[in-house]
Amino acid sequence: MAGTRQLLEICNTEAVSLQDVPRLNTTEFRQAVIDAVRIGGASIAALFGHGQANGPVRLMAVLEYPARGTLSLVSTDVQYSYDAITPDCPQAHWFEREIAEQWGVEPQGHPWLKPIRFHTSCRRGMDAWARKADSPILPGVTDYFRVEGEEIHEVAVGPVHAGIIEPGHFRFQCHGEDVFHLEISLGYQHRGIEKALLGGPNKRTLHYMETAAGDTTIGHATAYCRAIETLCAYNVPARAQALRAIALELERVANHVGDLGALAGEVAYLPTMSYCGRIRGDILNMTALLCGNRFGRGLVKPGGVRFDAEAGRVGDLLNRLDAASKDLEVAVNLLWNIPSVMARFEETGTLSQDLARQIGLVGPAARACGVSRDVRQDLPFGMYRFAHIPASTWHSGDVFARAYVRWLEIQRSLTFVREQLQSLPAGSVAGAIGEPAPGQIVVSLTEGWRGEICHVALTDDDGQFAHYKIVDPSFHNWFGLACCLRDQQVSDFPLCNKSFNLSYCGHDL
C-alpha cells in the first residue's frame, strides 16, 4: 500500500521521537488518513492540533489498525484552513469540529461545523466562526438542525434534566412520536483539562486524570501512568500490572452491572434494577478493599500502584467475588427470560455494523454491532499481554445487544479477576520513575469500560508536556447515540441513552 510508507508505525505505548513523525503537506495528509481508514482498515484513535500561540497548527493523526495490532502517526501543518476530511471519512466529524474550535482553523467543506465545547480558541484572535474576541461564548448557543413542515415539532430536553445526571442538551425533530433527527449539544462540563495539563507532569496531573471522567478513574489513570512511564523508560513491576488490571476489570464490572440495572429500571422491571443496584455496590466495595476508595481514586500512580494486596485481603476479595457472581447470575438472567423486557430491548435503537464502522464507534457499543474491536485483544497492554481476554460481540446492534455484550464482558472480567487474584506475581508494587525524555511522543490506548481511551503525550525540550490529548470513548460514541435514534420512538430515547451510557464530562474535558 502506497499510503502506509508515509506513516510512522508504532506499538501501543511506545515512545518515539517527535522528529520521526512524518510531516506531509495538507493534501497528502488528508489522503493518507482517508486511505488508511478506507483501504487500510484503520480507525481514527485521535486527530488533534497542537502548536504555539501564533505559529501554524500542527495536525496529528493517530490511526489504529486493530487487525495488525499497531498504530500509525502522521502530521501536517496548517495555518488558517484546510480541506475537511469528514466528507470522505465520517469518523473525523467530531475531531474536526474540535480542531476548529480549539485552534481557529477551518476545515473547509465540513458538513456541519459547529463548536462542541463552547470555549475560546487557543490561538489568540483566531476563531473558526469569526466571533469577536470579547463576545461571550455560551454553551448550547449555536445553530441547530431544523426540520420544516406542517406536522413537525421540536422537543428540547436539558441541559437541566429530571434525573441526577450531567448536563447536556438534546433536540429532537419529531413527527408525532417518531424521531426524525436528534442533535446533541454538549460542552456544559468543559473544565479545560487539556490546557491545565500543559507544562506537566506535576502533582496535579494524576488528579486531573482521575477526574477526567469520574466513573473511569482507573481507566484514565492507567492510560496516563503508562504514557508517563514509557516516556521515562520505566518498567512497571509485574505485581503492579496485575493489580491495575484487576482494578480496571472491577471498574468495568461495577459499571456494567449498574448499567444493566438501569436498563431494567428504564423499562420498569424492578427486580433486576434493585438487585443490580446492590451488587454494583458490592463490586465498588471490592475496589474500596483494594485502595480505600470505591471508585479507585489513589490506587494507580506513576510507577505502579499505591497499595499492595496481601494474602488476607486477596482471600477476602475472592470470597466476595464468588458471592457477587452468584447473585449476579440470578439477577441478570431474570432479564433475558422475561418476554416483556425482551420486547422492549430487541430492535430498539438499532445500528448497523457498517454505520458503526463508518462513524468509528468504540467499546461495548461497537461490539454490540458485531465490530470486534477491543484494545485488550487488538493492542494488548500491561497484564493483558500475558492473560488474554477475548472480545465479546453480538450481531444485532440494538439495545438488547448492548445489554448482552455487557453481560458477556462481566462474566469474562470476573473470571479474569479471579485468575489474576489466584496467581498474583510476587515482588514490589511500585518504583521511582525518573524524568520524562524530551521531544518524544507516546500514544497510550486502554480499554476502559466504555471503550477505547486514547492518551497522547508530547514532550518539549525539557521533558514537559508540550501537549496532552485525551480522547474519552464518549467522544467517539455520542454521535452513535444520535444516529440510533433515527426513526425510533421519542419515548425510547431514555432506553437508548442508558444503553450507551456515555460520559458528559469525559467528552467535555
Binding site: 415539532h153 421540536e154 422537543v155 428540547a156 430536553v157 429530571a162 434525573g163 419529531c174 408525532g176 412520536e177 431494567a264 428504564e266 423499562v267 420498569a268 422491571y269 424492578l270 427486580p271 434494577m273 434493585s274 438487585y275 446492590r278 422475561i338 416483556s340 423486557v341 420486547a343 422492549r344 430498539t348 420512538q489 421519542v490 419515548s491 425510547d492 430515547f493 431514555p494
Partner: protein
C-alpha cells in the same frame, strides 16, 4: 379517605419484590400534608385554565367517588344511567388536566397530553362496554343497583362473561391509573411519561389535588373491578364492606405483583392492549345478550 392507602400497599409489594424495605404505607398522606402546606409556583405563560385544572380534577374525582358503591352498600348518589355520568366525570378530569398541560406551552407536556388523550380515547369504550355488559346482565341502570344485584349466583351462571368484563376492567384500571405495563409511575424521564408529564408544572396544593384525585381514581376503578370479582353477600352490611375492602387490598397487591414481574410496554403497543380490553368487553356484551 382510604384511597391513598392503596398506593401504599402497591408500593410495599413492589419494594418486597425488589428486596427493599420500601416507603411507609402512609407515605402519600405525608406527601399530601407536606404539599398542602406549601405555596404554588405558576408559570408566566399560563392562564386561569392551568389553575382550574387540578381543582376540576379533584372535584370531578370526588363526585365520581359518590357514584361508586362498595360491598353491596348503596352509593351516596345514585340514579338510572349514572354509569354514563361516571365515565364522563373521568373524561372531564382528563379533559381539564390535558388543557392545563397544553396551557403551559411546553413541548413535553403537549406530547404527554397527546398520549394521554390517545390512550384514554381507547380506554373509554372498554370501560363503557364493560359497564354496559354488567347493566344488561343485571337489568339495572344505576351503579348501586347493578352492583347490588351482583351475587355469586350471577358470577357462576355467567362466569365467562364476567371474567371477560373483569379482564377489560383490569386493563382499564392499569391504563387509567398510569400503572405498568402502560405507564411507569416511578419514571422521572419526561420523554417517556404519560400521566406524570401532565402534572410537571403543578406544585404545592395543586399537586396535592392531582395526587389525591389520582388516588381517588385508583379507588373508583378498583371498586368497580372488585365489585365484579367479589360479589359476596353475607347479609350484614359491615361484613360485606369488610370483604370488599379486603378485596381492594388484594387488588393493590396484585397490581404490585404485575408491576414487579413485567416490564413496561413500548408506547406503540399500548393501543393494542387497550384495543384488547375493548374486545374483551364486546365479547362479554355479546355473551350476556345471547
Amino acid at each position: 379517605m382510604l384511597a391513598p392507602l392503596l398506593l401504599g400497599v402497591i408500593n410495599k409489594t413492589k419494594a418486597f419484590f425488589g428486596g427493599r424495605k420500601g416507603q411507609p404505607f402512609l407515605q402519600l398522606y405525608y406527601d399530601l400534608n407536606k404539599l398542602l402546606r406549601k405555596g404554588a409556583v405558576y408559570s408566566h405563560t399560563t392562564s386561569w385554565i392551568f389553575r382550574a385544572g387540578p381543582v376540576v380534577w379533584l372535584a370531578a374525582a370526588a363526585v365520581a367517588m359518590l357514584l361508586v358503591p362498595l360491598g353491596g352498600s348503596a352509593a351516596p348518589m345514585s340514579f338510572a344511567g349514572d354509569l354514563v355520568l361516571l365515565a364522563y366525570l373521568l373524561g372531564l378530569m382528563r379533559f381539564f388536566v390535558v388543557l392545563a398541560a397544553m396551557d403551559t406551552g411546553s413541548a413535553l407536556e403537549g406530547m404527554g397530553a397527546s398520549r394521554e388523550v390517545q390512550f384514554s380515547a381507547l380506554a373509554e369504550p372498554a370501560l363503557l362496554l364493560a359497564l354496559a355488559a354488567l347493566a344488561r346482565q343485571t337489568g339495572q341502570l344505576s351503579l348501586t343497583d347493578i352492583y347490588g344485584a351482583m351475587s355469586f349466583d350471577v358470577l357462576l351462571k355467567t362466569g365467562p362473561a364476567m371474567i371477560l368484563v373483569a379482564g377489560a376492567l383490569l386493563i382499564v384500571f392499569l391504563a387509567e391509573n398510569a400503572r405498568v405495563p402502560v405507564d411507569d409511575p416511578d419514571t422521572h424521564l419526561e420523554l417517556t411519561m404519560i400521566h406524570e408529564v401532565l402534572a410537571l408544572d403543578t406544585s404545592g396544593p395543586d399537586f396535592a389535588f392531582i395526587l389525591y384525585g389520582s388516588a381517588l381514581k385508583l379507588w373508583i376503578l378498583g371498586a368497580l373491578l372488585v365489585g365484579v370479582l367479589l360479589p359476596i353477600r353475607t347479609g350484614w352490611l359491615w361484613a360485606d364492606i369488610g370483604i370488599s375492602l379486603a378485596g381492594m387490598v388484594l387488588l393493590a397487591v396484585a397490581t404490585g405483583v404485575i408491576e414487579s414481574t413485567m416490564a413496561r410496554l413500548r408506547l406503540l403497543r399500548v393501543p393494542q392492549l387497550l384495543g384488547a380490553a375493548s374486545a374483551l368487553a364486546i365479547l362479554a356484551l355479546i355473551l350476556v345478550f345471547r
